[in-house]
């Protein structure tokens, strides 16, 4: 869209957009700032914005109390594992829906999405009992499976919409050249769908990272991710804003950084077939 605009208009756009952007980002910024204050400064009246005695004490206290790396590692494994596993299962399914559609394809897709509507807490006891029987309680593997199942419908849906944008003729040509189905998917389809697959991967990684019901209720020590880490700082006795901020910053920083580096990718791919 190469529209020419006056400089005045551009200044106006920039000002408004930055103001709104900063406003939306402010709660995160404020949390990060607070994490470097002392507890007393965190509740100072009037609030101090920048000119306080910057301290790393809160981070030291949090690190001393809980083994952050262990929680972080669990989050990475669980979110990463469930996303990758989900992709492995979803790619073939999305392929067949996109390229060999039947009358029921749309119904199946919508049904898949509807499985996400069962309220999790209603099935806590059955799932918990099942986990005990299978010995999956407090295991990363169990959580990988659960989160994969929770996000599978979204993964299938997203991949399906990307695959549909790929012209079927190209695949057909590959088939004419004697490519097997496996080769067709691996060497022709997948490379063409890389942007779509990448953004699917990112979105689901974020969703799995932030999932806070199952990750909290099905873990104790070994598999506890950052959502459990936060639960030990949420309302302790005494002043806690600064320590809560430090713990919050530690919990969201990795995903925030990942998100920022990959935001172009995420923006490009996150269409859900909305753009034709």
């Amino acid at each position: 869209m190469a529209r020419t605009v006056t400089t005045n208009r551009k200044i106006l756009n920039t000002t408004i957009a930055w103001a709104i952007g900063l406003l939306i980002f402010f709660p995160i910024l404020w949390t990060i700032l607070t994490s470097f204050k002392t507890e007393a400064q965190a509740i100072n009246d009037p609030p101090i914005f920048l000119f306080f005695d910057w301290t790393l004490e809160n981070y030291a206290v949090v690190q001393e109390r809980s083994n952050y790396m262990k929680f972080l590692w669990n989050s990475v494994i669980i979110a990463g594992g469930s996303t990758v596993l989900g992709l492995i299962i979803a790619v073939p399914a999305a392929w067949s829906m996109a390229f060999v559609p039947s009358r029921r394809t749309k119904d199946i897709l919508l049904w898949m999405l509807s499985t996400k509507m069962l309220p999790a807490v209603g099935v806590l006891y059955p799932i918990y009992l099942g986990f005990i029987k299978l010995g999956l309680l407090d295991s990363r593997f169990g959580l990988v499976i659960v989160l994969m199942l929770i996000n599978l419908p979204i993964i299938v849906w997203m991949l399906y919409t990307y695959f549909r944008e790929i012209p079927g003729e190209i695949l057909e040509a590959a088939r004419m050249d004697g490519a097997s189905l496996r080769e067709e998917i691996l060497y022709v389809l997948t490379p063409m769908a890389i942007p779509g697959i990448a953004s699917t991967l990112l979105l689901n990684f974020i969703l799995a990272w932030n999932e806070a019901f199952w990750t909290l209720n099905l873990t104790a020590v070994n598999a506890a991710p950052l959502t459990a880490f936060i639960a030990s700082y949420s309302s302790p006795e005494g002043l806690f804003y600064a320590k809560l901020s430090a713990a919050s910053t530690m919990a969201i920083a990795p995903i925030l950084i990942l998100g920022w580096f990959s935001q172009k990718q995420l923006v490009r791919g996150l269409t859900f077939g909305a753009v034709k």
């Binding site: 529209r3 208009r9 551009k10 756009n13 920039t14 957009a17 930055w18 952007g21 939306i24 980002f25 709660p27 995160i28 404020w30 607070t34 609030p47 073939p92 399914a93 392929w95 067949s96 829906m97 390229f99 060999v100 749309k106 199946i108 919508l110 898949m112 499985t115 509507m117 069962l118 309220p119 999790a120 807490v121 209603g122 099935v123 806590l124 059955p126 599978l152 079927g168 189905l181 974020i206 932030n210 806070a212 959502t227 949420s234 809560l244 901020s245 919050s248 919990a251 969201i252 925030l256 998100g259 935001q263 995420l266 923006v267 490009r268 269409t271 077939g273 909305a274 753009v275 034709k276």
Partner: protein
């Protein structure tokens, strides 16, 4: 194009996903249905046999039931309206030429990366606290009495927190749609002297229809089950008890699995009503 063999191959490749999801749906669904007909009190000796429809009548007969359905719909509806409207505005704005577009975009999508628990904790303590919260300081600065957000404007507060989390998602999807707009058509309309409102109404909005549908569909699925935001902020008090939260209270606080399971069945029914309603719209919009 599809041959017989590719059809059967297609079925084979869909099988893992379909079977897994079928299992994931059916196993809990069947156990929920089973428990909903039983008197199951873990703290009182566990499963004590059949009670027929007693749990169902008790759950729906409780004074908390209808208000919770209403609360659920208000929260879902409120968040949808806010995120879609603001999302369109933001998407149009971010599409304009400006300096530092990339950075602004990053700032706008950042809330999407924040865990619901964290965002609820931050909003509740550091912004909405009536004494030490930033809003209270702001109100006092302007000489107003601080608002007691989580008790006096509880629903609005929760809608605001959840909207903050989901606005980036709506903005992103709408932004990709805006970017695919035919610029020449817009320019031609502008040349013809069509005012902004008209251009927006007749060209932009129809183009965004599909994206809006997607936003509504995906968000509804997630919003129907929001939990952490309520658990952390009000604990279900002050009229913020959604159906999901009511079920949580029955299952975990009252330790009545039978009653909670009956609630779960109602929640599934509600979700399906909403779903059918949505599918009607979405189905039409997605067909072409």
């Amino acid at each position: 194009m599809a041959t017989q063999s590719s059809r059967s191959a297609a079925r084979l490749m869909m099988a893992p996903a379909v079977i897994l999801l079928l299992g994931w749906m059916l196993a809990p669904l069947i156990t929920t249905l089973y428990f909903s007909f039983r008197r199951y009190l873990p703290l009182r000796g566990g499963d004590q046999g059949w009670v027929g429809f007693e749990n169902y009548t008790r759950f729906i007969g409780s004074s908390a039931f209808w208000p919770s359905v209403q609360t659920t719909l208000i929260i879902v509806g409120g968040v949808l309206v806010i995120t879609v409207l603001l999302g369109i505005v933001l998407a149009l704005l971010l599409d304009q030429p400006m300096w530092g577009q990339g950075i602004v975009r990053i700032l706008v999508i950042a809330p999407f990366f924040v865990m619901p628990t964290v965002s609820a904790l931050v909003w509740k303590n550091m912004f909405m606290d009536p004494v030490n919260g930033l809003f209270a300081h702001l109100w006092k600065f302007f000489g107003a009495t601080p608002v007691e957000w989580l008790s006096q404007a509880s629903l609005q507060s929760i809608v605001m927190i959840v909207s903050w989390q989901w606005l980036p998602f709506a903005t992103l999807i709408l932004l990709t749609a805006v970017q695919s707009l035919d610029g020449e058509q817009l320019e031609a309309a502008e040349m013809d002297g069509a005012p902004f409102i008209k251009r927006f109404w007749y060209i932009v909005l129809p183009h965004l229809g599909r994206a809006i549908t997607i936003v509504i569909l995906i968000q509804t699925i997630f919003l129907l089950s929001i939990f952490a935001e309520i658990f952390v902020t009000t604990g279900g008090a002050f009229g913020t008890r959604t159906l999901t939260y009511l079920i949580f209270q029955r299952v975990l606080e009252s330790q009545n699995i039978g009653l909670g399971s009956a609630g779960g069945v109602y929640a599934i029914i509600l979700a399906n009503i909403v779903a059918i309603f949505l599918m009607r719209i979405v189905g039409k919009n997605l067909d072409n």
